[in-house]
């Protein structure tokens, strides 16, 4: 599986390694050091929540994993293959297996909802027909099924920007499903949504993890969401990994270690 020198998994009882990161460092051209020497390992089926203040490097970490951002140093393996420096077709093949969900949904606003879902299949569709926005009947049926699943089956023909924020994020989840990924990166998926809608979106992401067996890496802020959905929590502070543990053991003390003394735990029973 790993030709590129990734450590070979010996403990056969443990689930397969999905993400492995060693010494990941990102220094932006303007000198900002977003990540310094992050080591991380994620195994099949985990719902890993990454927390930390804005600017702590959470988003950069996720974007390095699908190479929307090129790391400055360090190595990354996805499903056992090193992807730190792959380019071209290899890079696209890796991206096709890794879906991403964004804070701002990032739908193509002027396209229909169904087209947005279909765009998830771009990694697999023939180039020319996709440029003409032509997808196969099978793909269309699949997209419709995923839309039904996120409860928007009747909105396929609406323009994406006619939908509310929560609905747009569900379309983005359907787009991720369309990609049939093995790994899902969710970058603050509920941060720009009304608190009342957060669970409705998070439950769909949870379904990707529980029902589809996709491994999920998700950045979150609210403590109640972390307790409810995470199987493991890691925290970043100033680009360094400062905490790793079970969501149960995540309490007020660790919270303040990560966020600083002035922070108030949002939506928390622990105070």
């Amino acid at each position: 599986m790993s030709q590129n020198g990734a450590p070979v998994d010996i403990g056969a009882s443990r689930p397969a390694e999905v993400v492995r990161v060693e010494g990941l460092t990102k220094v932006f051209p303007n000198g900002v050091r977003a990540l310094s020497g992050v080591d991380l390992e994620v195994r099949q089926g985990e719902f890993l929540v990454i927390i930390g203040l804005s600017g702590s490097g959470k988003s950069t970490l996720l974007r390095c994993l699908n190479r929307l951002i090129d790391p400055s140093a360090g190595r990354i393996w996805i499903f056992g293959d090193e992807i730190t420096a792959v380019e071209g077709a290899g890079l696209r093949a890796m991206r096709a297996e890794v879906a991403m969900i964004f804070q701002q949904f990032n739908l193509v606003k002027r396209h229909s909802v169904i087209n947005n879902v279909l765009s998830g299949a771009l990694g697999h569709t023939p180039l020319w027909s996709s440029l003409l926005l032509r997808f196969s009947g099978e793909e269309k049926a699949q997209a419709q099924a995923y839309l039904d699943r996120v409860g928007l089956g009747d909105r396929g023909d609406s323009r994406a920007d006619a939908l509310s924020g929560g609905q747009q994020q569900r379309v983005a989840i359907a787009r991720a499903l369309m990609q049939k990924p093995r790994l899902v990166l969710a970058d603050e998926p509920v941060a720009s949504l009304d608190p009342a809608l957060r669970h409705s979106v998070m439950r769909h992401i949870e379904a990707l993890n529980r029902e589809e067996g996709m491994t999920v890496l998700c950045t979150l802020h609210d403590i109640d969401l972390i307790e409810r959905y995470a199987t493991r929590v890691v925290a970043l502070r100033d680009g360094e990994l400062v905490y790793e543990g079970e969501p149960k053991s995540f309490d007020a003390v660790t919270f303040h270690q990560i966020y600083g003394e002035d922070a108030v735990m949002a939506g928390s029973a622990v105070d």
Partner: protein, 365 residues
């Protein structure tokens, strides 16, 4: 592979940094040389010096007299001094433009920096010098209107003799402008992606294409449509097709500029999202970029058609077809009534185009 492309770029950067310092110096050199030249210009202009004819020197004669070499040498010296003395003098304009203002100076109001005073002075000098060079004569402008009454009277008393021919050529003008715009759209559309900075950073090939397209379009745009018309009249002969080609070339250049600016302003979110699905570059353009730029592209294209209708009048003057073709001889012969008819026809068309294009743009943006 321990070191990624990013770090390699940073290691290459000393060279780039030096290039930027040179750029900054050249801008300072240019500004300071201009400054010295304008000061000299004004000193000579107000010194009461007499030219070869014994009369006061004209602005054109002064431009001939200026010491360009000395000014450039002085400008270079001052630019060097400002560059090395920036600790005491503050950042020079060129450095501020190319390298940015350092943090410690960032919040000072312009009245507290030499750069601020220098730029303010430059603006004033430019206005004064411009006033003299273009020979602005306010008094004549305000008192000598009567000399132009003949023309104005003709314009408001249009003659009906050219109305029929005018209408026929007006139709030709509108189609001429339309064809030029239509031919320009596909070419400009394709080139504009290569002329957008945000899409051409990744590889050396793309960066070269960017520079090439930008330079080519700037040159094309800088050449007057009138000159293009003369070129194409020699090429395909007198008539509307030469006009179509002239406006086509100019429209391509103008549209590439407008289109590419729109591409540079897109929301990068959808581009990230489509890239993250494993889509290829063309698919990312098709899904992430094109839907965002279609409305502004349409709006600019209609605007361009509007401009082309106006420009085709001038193109007609030199034989490029359209209504300008019959306008020119009547201007030369002073048949102001007939000129008035044609001008009113053009004005009515431009007015209609303007209303139409405003309405359409309102709808699609």
């Amino acid at each position: 592979m321990e070191i990624s492309a990013e770090l390699q770029r940073q290691q290459r950067s000393p060279w780039r940094h030096r290039m930027r310092q040179v750029q900054a110096f050249l801008i300072d050199l240019l500004l300071l040389t201009l400054f010295l030249l304008m000061v000299e210009f004004l000193v000579v202009a107000f010194s009461g010096r007499r030219g070869p004819t014994g009369l006061l020197v004209t602005p054109e004669e002064i431009l001939d007299l200026l010491h360009y070499g000395w000014a450039a040498a002085g400008g270079a010296l001052l630019a060097l001094l400002w560059g090395f003395g920036s600790d005491w003098l503050g950042t020079s304009p060129g450095r501020a433009l190319v390298l940015g203002v350092p943090e410690r100076e960032g919040h000072r109001p312009w009245t507290h920096t030499l750069r601020g005073w220098f730029i303010a002075l430059m603006v004033q000098l430019t206005v004064f010098t411009g006033w003299l060079i273009t020979e602005v004569q306010l008094v004549t402008f305000l008192t000598q209107f009567s000399k132009a009454t003949d023309i104005v009277r003709g314009l408001v008393h249009p003659s009906s003799t050219v109305l029929h021919q005018g209408l026929v050529l007006l139709v030709q003008t509108i189609f001429l402008a339309f064809m030029a715009t239509a031919f320009a759209i596909p070419v400009a559309f394709c080139l504009s992606f290569l002329a957008a900075r945000n899409l051409t950073r990744d590889t050396f090939l793309l960066r070269s294409a960017y520079t090439l397209v930008r330079a080519g379009m700037n040159f094309t745009r800088a050449v007057e449509p009138l000159v293009w018309a003369l070129i194409f009249i020699s090429w395909v002969g007198i008539g509307p097709f030469a006009g179509v080609l002239a406006l086509w070339v100019h429209s391509v250049a103008a549209l590439v500029k407008l289109y590419s600016e729109q591409i540079e302003n897109i929301d990068h979110g959808p581009v990230d999202a489509i890239t993250a699905t494993g889509a290829s570059h063309l698919q990312v353009l098709r899904f992430g970029v094109v839907p965002q730029v279609i409305p502004p592209f349409l709006s600019f294209t209609i605007y361009r058609w509007d401009i082309n209708v106006r420009m085709s009048t001038i193109i007609g003057f030199v034989g490029g077809g359209g209504i300008g073709y019959i306008l020119k001889p009547r201007v030369d012969l002073g048949q102001w009534g007939e000129v008035g008819t044609l001008v009113l026809l053009i004005a009515a068309t431009v007015w209609c185009m303007d209303i139409l294009s405003a309405k359409i743009r309102e709808r699609i943006v």
